[in-house]
Amino acid sequence: MRLQILINFMLSRKVILTGSFGVGKTSLFSRFINNTFSDRYITTIGVKVDKKSLEIDGQEISILLWDIAGEVTQNKVPNSYFLGASAIIYVFDLTRPSTYKNIKLDIDYLNKMLPNITILIVGNKKDLLDQEKIKTIGEDLGYPIDLYTSAKTGENVENLFETIGRGFIE
């Protein structure tokens, strides 16, 4: 008889927060990792990494989250930062059109460099606009937005990471 040993190892995945500066990447990072938020802006200059585990359908997943410096276009991000990434969260600021005007260019660039990677497009700072305005931005963008979040109130932040985690176990 053959004995089969099942080793229940923890699934861990690298996820990157990227997008233009000031859109709220670090704020989403802190909201997810520590459940904190600050109104004060301190720009990120390179990368900061931390991790948190989530339980999805009884399966534990460790998210290794990379909070990187905002760049107006993605081709400015050091290539090495993308090594081993399983998903990318592309964040823009719903209140600043300059942060979503390069969206198509950026997503095309990322798709080309990292074929087969999951990219989620997230409009942040939803607490600053009403539903109507958000809807108009979404329509005008002509690009599918995956989620609208607020790092400030926490709205949809957990949902965002659960969506990503779920993608890893499916």
């Binding site: 500066f21 000031g22 390179g46 990494v49 090594l83 300059s98």
Partner: protein, 116 residues
């Protein structure tokens, strides 16, 4: 002024082999899996071991750490090395660039604030 560099070697499981300890002491990590202490390392280690070509160096500039024993900004670089019995390992260089990047952060901060 030349920057302080710490050179660390790891086996292919991520266990600490040697360190010159120029920046932080590692005695408490000896023969332990460094990936458990450094989320950065955990997130790239397997890919480095599997995809890095011998002789090539990969650099990760401007890494901000969360460790109290390593506060500031560092440039990381990695290369494959041979350890005992032809086994492959990893060399991890940590260079302290805190001063340089603190200045850069101040500049970047004021540039961004003007546009926000």
């Amino acid at each position: 002024m030349s920057k302080v560099r710490q050179t660390i070697t790891l086996d292919q499981r991520g266990y600490l082999l040697t360190s010159c300890d120029s920046l932080f002491p590692t005695e408490k990590f000896l023969n332990k899996d460094l990936k458990e202490f450094f989320p950065f390392l955990e997130s790239v280690f397997v890919d480095l071991i599997q995809t890095l070509e011998t002789g090539r160096i990969i650099q990760f500039p401007k890494v901000e750490t969360k460790h109290i024993f390593l506060p500031g900004f560092y440039d990381y670089s990695f290369r494959l090395i041979r350890i005992r019995n032809e086994e492959i390992g990893l060399q991890w260089d940590v260079v302290d660039a805190t001063n340089e990047y603190t200045d850069l952060q101040t500049e970047q901060q004021s540039a961004h604030e003007k546009e926000l």
